[in-house]
């Protein structure tokens, strides 16, 4: 009985995984097929035409190293969007962590009046629909001249990101013993060395998780980039949407693959920090 139950559980996990992976498989087939229409079960013809149209793979006959380099040198839209998404993601991740660290330290280590209220206010952007605040922000951003700028987009991405970063780091600090720092100080380490040698290794797992959240939230941001970027800042999500609405499934699938690939890569390398036993997430209960 128990054995059977275990089997059923395992099968249900496989089934769940399959359901999650299925659309991604469909993406892949779509991206490498030519005119795959209902009711064909599999595409009649495989093709690179989507990738050629995106100017990521050269036309047949010139697929040499030079051919690739020449093509990419023309600066195709997809690559521009990819670079934009990556740069915004990295900048926003680093800035959010630098801002959140001191706040999280105080929230995690000390108890004080209105702490719960402050935490609530800090996470409120996650329960507020972005459209509710972005229109108001947009007016301000336009008058400040941030609209349509790289800076403005980074700034607005911080709004949904900060709660995740602050909360994750607060969890880390709730489990953190600052006496280790004092010990290092009495042994002759100055403040900088103490941070670098003692604090950083202790909070690194949490920082990885926070960075992961920050990057992925920024990476998948559509509405905020669309409105604040005012059409001048093209990122991958924007490109996915505009391609999808133009109605070429192979093209959309190819861009989508480029869109999800970095996210999967990052998750793959950081998943061990997100699991339940890791020190990165075990402090939440203590906040």
């Amino acid at each position: 009985m128990n054995q059977n139950l275990k089997k059923i559980n395992i099968y249900s996990i496989y089934l769940g995984a399959f359901i999650l992976v299925l659309p991604i498989i469909a993406f892949f087939i779509n991206a490498f097929s030519f005119r795959w229409f209902y009711p064909q079960l599999i595409p009649k013809e495989l093709s690179m035409q989507a990738w050629v149209r995106l100017k990521l793979i050269p036309r047949e006959g010139s697929r040499t190293l030079e051919g690739f380099l020449d093509l990419w040198a023309t600066n195709p839209t997809v690559i521009k969007a990819l670079i934009n998404s990556l740069t915004i993601g990295f900048v926003v991740t680093i800035v959010s962590i630098i801002i959140a660290l001191p706040a999280a330290r105080v929230l995690g280590l000390f108890n004080f009046k209105f702490k719960k209220l402050i935490i609530f206010l800090m996470v409120s952007p996650t329960i507020l629909p972005p459209i509710a605040f972005v229109l108001g922000l947009n007016i301000n951003f336009i008058s400040l001249g941030f609209s349509g700028s790289f800076f403005g987009v980074c700034l607005v991405h911080l709004v949904p990101i900060m709660p995740y970063v602050v909360l994750t780091l607060t969890g880390i600090f709730a489990n953190y013993n600052p006496d280790f720092e004092y010990q290092a100080r009495t042994l002759g380490a100055n403040k900088f060395k103490t941070f670098y040698l003692i604090t950083l290794p202790a909070i690194a797992p949490g920082m990885v998780v926070a960075a992961l959240f920050a990057f992925l939230v920024s990476w998948s941001q559509y509405l905020l980039t669309f409105l604040i970027g005012a059409g001048k800042i093209m990122t991958l999500p924007l490109l996915v949407f505009s391609t999808a609405s133009s109605g070429n499934p192979a093209l959309t699938a190819a861009i989508s693959i480029i869109f999800i690939f970095p996210a999967i890569l990052i998750l793959f390398f950081t998943s061990k920090f997100v699991s339940g036993e890791s020190s990165a997430t075990s402090g939440f209960g203590k906040i």
């Binding site: 010990q183 100080r185 009495t186 002759g188 202790a202």
Partner: protein, 351 residues
Amino acid sequence: MTEVNIVNLIKNFSGMTRPAVDNISINIQNGELIALLGPSGCGKTTILKMITGLLTPDNGDILLDNQSILSVPTEKRNVVMVFQNYLLFPYMNVNENVGFSLKMKGDDPKVINKRVQEMLELVKLPDIGERRPKQLSGGQQQRVALARALIANPRLLLLDEPLSNLDAHLRDEMRELITSIQKKLGVTCMFVTHDQEEAVLLADKIALIFDGKLQNFAEPKEFYEKPINVSAAKFFGGVNFIELNKNTNYFDSSIGKIISNQKNVDELHSKCIATIRPENIKISRENIYQDNFFKGKIKSVIFSGTHTRYKIVINNLNLECSLQSLGIQNINKEDEVFVNLPKDKIWIMND
């Protein structure tokens, strides 16, 4: 190598009605080992933290060799503290932990290795350098923490409750190790404890602190023989207290006239309190005493090996007396006895 002067030290915390550290002054001679003794919350750790610079005093001064260290940052004071829970850095092995302060000084790695090995031998753990703190027992962690502190050649070594996390048998071993190393290296040392026995066994001098106030700073013996007040006497296991009224050359009490040859009688108030340690009280069936003798009755007899404890009542006053079991007369419960409080053993203090 260092003389320490703590002068009128005061520290307030918001949310506390009294200062956590209330005007404390202590002078520690070069190479002395002194104990800060007091119940939980009396301000011991706060004092250590002010000496290391982790807290800033509200008032007063801390001098090492007559130079104030208050404006010196923690890492430059060369005052090393060993915390109660050892705090070995988890991401470093034992060698790296012990060598930490030398690395901060920028010493040559070869020199560091050699010194680390020496230190580990000194604390009798020569072969564990490659291990991680998690792979050590509590006693081993404690010794590594001690080695890590001593390698820095501190001007002053601070130990916060060094023995409280250890098993009873490890405690004796560690106590001996600490005193022998401390004397060998001649390092001035201050440790914190709430256990009076530990303080007595380890320290050259004890600073007794209640509620942030220094009660007395003296050699251990004095706390037994000449306590400063009733609470200090009780903290050191005092059980016999007699209320007195001062007269010209004797004292009145509920059991009669008491005389004493104490020197500082002039400093005593008109109402004062006498105390005497149980082992200093004498009892006998016959009256063989000259003065300070009273008629009492034995309420209970408790045999505890080398000593036997008697509870005696004299006119509603309860006293405890402890005699060596060997060679005492046959004294039993309900017996009437003569009780003698020798005038050179009785100690009178202001409340």
